[in-house]
Symmetry: D2
Subunit: 338 residues, 4 copies
């Protein structure tokens, strides 16, 4: 941590800051320049200290953090790439893992049809929402328990791994019973009680990036999960909010190499929620694959025009099949497989 003093700050003010740093158990090194003084705070855990402790001291102009404020998700904590293994499927390994399914589970027929399609095309994981967080209270909120049962049935019939979102701390035990991976949605990325409850379940987790979360905040949210669950955390980039809405969100494809540099966790991409429009989903999926995503999570539907939610961004089975073909070639082009 670096503390920049106001220009012309007196020796007395500088001494006050130095004293406070020492009180907190850190080493301190003041660098007195011609025009200004900067004070370096040194120690192995300065990342955990609130910068505000120094910002309120008299004579302080700015406090600049050097160490990252996240810890368990950091490469500094574990420099070995984490591979999340579930029923023999490796996420974060050499293969690009394909996850697909409908936005919401609507019926047994619908989810089974999707599951069979995913299986047929070589996908490993089935997605499907049973509890749906909706911006409007008047919109369809999911089939809940019934949806979970349909998912379990699809899993049994196809052998696919199942991922589904959990939206409330009280649903964690129930959802955990029926699915293999708990999904934390973008709008709940900083819902710390939910993060804590999910961490305690010891289940693998898919943590979506909040649509206005910095990568730093995302990794701090991962820290909540990593305290509990033995590194079974998969990050998922799904587009961020910007000034332009020609796509629903702006896929931050650069987040892939940044996360791989800063963290040991695997990162997958959701091109469907970023695009918000089925026309753009394949392009974003291809870009994510070329950028090194460890997997893709794609919305498909047997009949998008009659979907109960997110129909506009769901692929038909034939569009999905064509996309998988394209993804396979790109994955191979960069030395991976699907």
């Amino acid at each position: 941590m670096i503390i920049e003093m106001e220009k012309g700050a007196s020796q007395k003010l500088i001494d006050g800051v130095v004293r406070k740093v020492r009180e907190l158990g850190f080493d301190v090194q003041p660098n007195i320049g011609e025009k200004e003084t900067v004070i370096a705070v040194l120690g192995s855990n300065t990342g955990e200290v609130d910068t505000q402790i120094f910002e309120t001291l008299p004579g302080v102009k700015k406090v600049i953090r050097i160490m990252s404020p996240y810890k368990l998700a950091s490469r500094d904590f574990s420099n070995k790439k984490t591979i999340v293994k579930i029923n023999g499927v490796e996420i974060g390994g050499s293969n690009v893992v394909i996850m697909a399914g409908p936005c919401a589970v609507e019926s047994e027929e619908q989810i089974l049809a999707c599951a069979k399609e995913v299986k047929k095309l070589g996908g490993q994981i089935l997605r499907g929402g049973a509890f749906k967080p909706r911006t409007s209270p008047f919109a369809f909120q999911g089939l809940k328990l019934e949806g979970l049962k349909f998912l379990a049935k699809a899993r049994k019939e196809t052998g696919l791994i199942v991922v589904s979102e959990v939206v409330s701390v009280n649903d964690v035990p129930l959802v955990s019973e029926f699915v293999d991976i708990l999904q934390i949605g973008a709008r709940n990325m900083q819902n710390y009680s939910l993060l804590t409850a999910v961490a305690e379940s010891k289940k693998p987790v898919l943590l979506k990036r909040g649509f206005a979360a910095t990568i730093e905040e995302w990794l701090m949210a991962a820290d909540y999960l990593l305290r509990g669950n033995g590194f079974n955390v998969i990050l998922c980039e799904r587009g961020v909010r910007t000034f332009d809405n020609s796509t629903r969100f702006t896929l931050d494809v650069g987040a892939i190499p940044v996360v791989k540099r800063l963290s040991h966790l695997p990162i997958i991409v959701d091109p469907s929620h970023a695009a918000g429009n089925f026309r753009y989903v394949p392009v974003l999926a291809r870009a994510a694959t070329a950028a090194g995503a460890d997997g893709l999570i794609i919305e498909i539907h047997p009949d998008p025009q009659n979907a109960l939610s997110d129909g506009a961004q769901s692929l038909t089975f034939s569009d999905f099949a064509r996309l998988i073909g394209e993804i396979r070639i790109i994955a191979e082009a960069i030395g991976r497989k699907i």
Copy 2:
């Protein structure tokens, strides 16, 4: 709702869209222009219909919503300005209501000192966090039950109304027992299970705007609350996230007149979280008052340098007293009081 067809869309495709609109029970009016066809969907509740139902139909280029997707929070639902009344204090009436207190309740002494200061300066509401949502799992998470008890004690001693944040559905009954107004924090604005649980408590609610939420999404979140609690909802603007971080968030002062035009709900402003720096808090508070905010919620601390959270943006008691003096004059300048 307006459906814009692709240029040159055939009569058959137009008929398909018209048929779908009628199936859903709406009136329809196709406007066939020289270069393109737009189809108006008419009815009293088109705001509740997902645009995607039409976006997936062949020949459709774009679907444009006309009616707002929120309902209960809208001026169309109730054109009379809502005044939230609690123990004789009116929020949304002619007075600018002052709410203040520490970010987190840290001790009985601290909260009592703050409460007395608020009372002395003519404030009506005491804030103080007992359950703290923190970006890092390693940061101070609040005194929880003990904090609530201290708040209740401060209320008893001063007669102030108390507002405190609730971060988990399971805490709603407990927090409701001790405080007068439940606060939903910015990071939980789209935590729909929490919104639902809070609505069911029938308590008045302070709903902070998510830091990347549009005003439309904010009013949709208010709809979740308004289903349950008889219009006791207070909106709170607290800064949005932009590309510039010279203040921690960018106070969207324009949200005040926009909300007043679109909604009947009262709107207050939190200058402390927007500023993130005590130096800028008074300026933002003055701007909000001049812009017509129905109240202010301000962080104060007897000793900001030793605060357990948000010290950098907390005002000392003397700075707070000076600010109240300024606010009073500005409120009077626009025909209000504090």
Copy 3:
């Protein structure tokens, strides 16, 4: 254009709007719904009309544009994909065109070394700044005329096409004399006098997207160029500004399919300015290729550590060579070549 009236707007107010629409020569179709009235404005050029003409009329709530405000850049104007042809190289055709070179021309040796490297690896276009727009007036501003001469020499020796930025209307004739493609930088995308001067030069133009420009504004800027120069306009996505700066800008990879849907113009990608860091450039370049970019413009330098500008995002020759190998395979994976 759709005009939404305030709820309960009187017939007289509606008639006033209808009259104004007719005065402007448009057809009009009022749709009187149960709760609100919307008025459709019909005609072949409503995209050119300022929405404000109606926004100020009494009783009007909102005006919604249907037709896009850009014209010449639109698929509605020309549905055939534009291919910009320069000395036998086609931009927007089936090949992914490689453009590379240093941020700034620094010396004859430096630009020749870059040119030979580009040529050797199969690139077609050499980039290099002679006039540099710099955020600080104290930074290196480019070699100007001398730089242009070095570029011309490199062109002569290698046969490469040359692109270079022009930053002032007065430099347009000079730069046009020495280079094949004039570049408009991101910060000048809405510098309309420059756009006009460049259009008049009849030279092919590379138009970078402003870092906070919507795609609509970008295509409107292209309209300025298209009035003059016979469709020789190449669009270049180079990252947009968001709340996150873990990469210098956020590459909007979704802009590629959106532009291809809305416009007939070719679109290339600049991964270097988006990344701002050499480590992330190859990943962004691969993603852009997989997303269908018609070309890439990449910063390279024989000795990035001693570059006079943008060294941090410049690739060394060996990194560049490796990247070209990767790009080639991805281009082939989607049926293109480099």
Copy 4:
């Protein structure tokens, strides 16, 4: 400047960085912590050095700037508040200066009517565009020379100071002849050739903030002007672009205290372009005044419904008169006058 080394960077890499710092003539102080090494670069002008010089060195993780990259606009350069004086009017002094007029000069009658209204209400400065930068090439581009002549006439008749935008380097001499203050528009804030030409004219300048410019970039643009013109620079906040467009831009009211802390230059506010809607202009104007703006620049029009540009955000004369009354009271409330 602080250079953070990669974790575990060898002594040899550290030495390499230290050597480079010394080569550039700076003092250096390496702080070797338990987990990581940070190297402080000390000297009076580190703000002018490109961080990339160090970012490309092996073993370097991140470079953090301490000194601001702007110089002449900084409080470090001149700690005395600058007051721009023109014909006896002081901008940046104790009064809130009122500037108003139409978006575009449309006719002699129109500009004279506006000028008389501004004069009558106690305003000091008349605005009016003769050269209009428009997003669409098909929109009205201003009356140019004729408009300047009308402005000069209005100045003669009323004694008001005149400000008008200049959009091209070649127009600088002409516009300088007719107006008192040259305006640089938001879209030209980083048009460095224009900044340079305007600085050379020695005229006072009104520098609008680019709608996606950080405060740092804005002050760097001011540096271009300050090299030439003797501190006659007025900054103007006019709203920034965010994800929400319920107002056309988001007025960054917090920029006022931030600029006052970082710079000696006066700052005024344009509530009209921020609002984009006449309904919201008065609220933003009041907020800006309460926040300490040194002036306001407001769009008015004798007949907004027939304005050739920006009618939707122009105030009628009666709305403007009411607003001036409100502003006067708020200014007095904070100890200023208009």
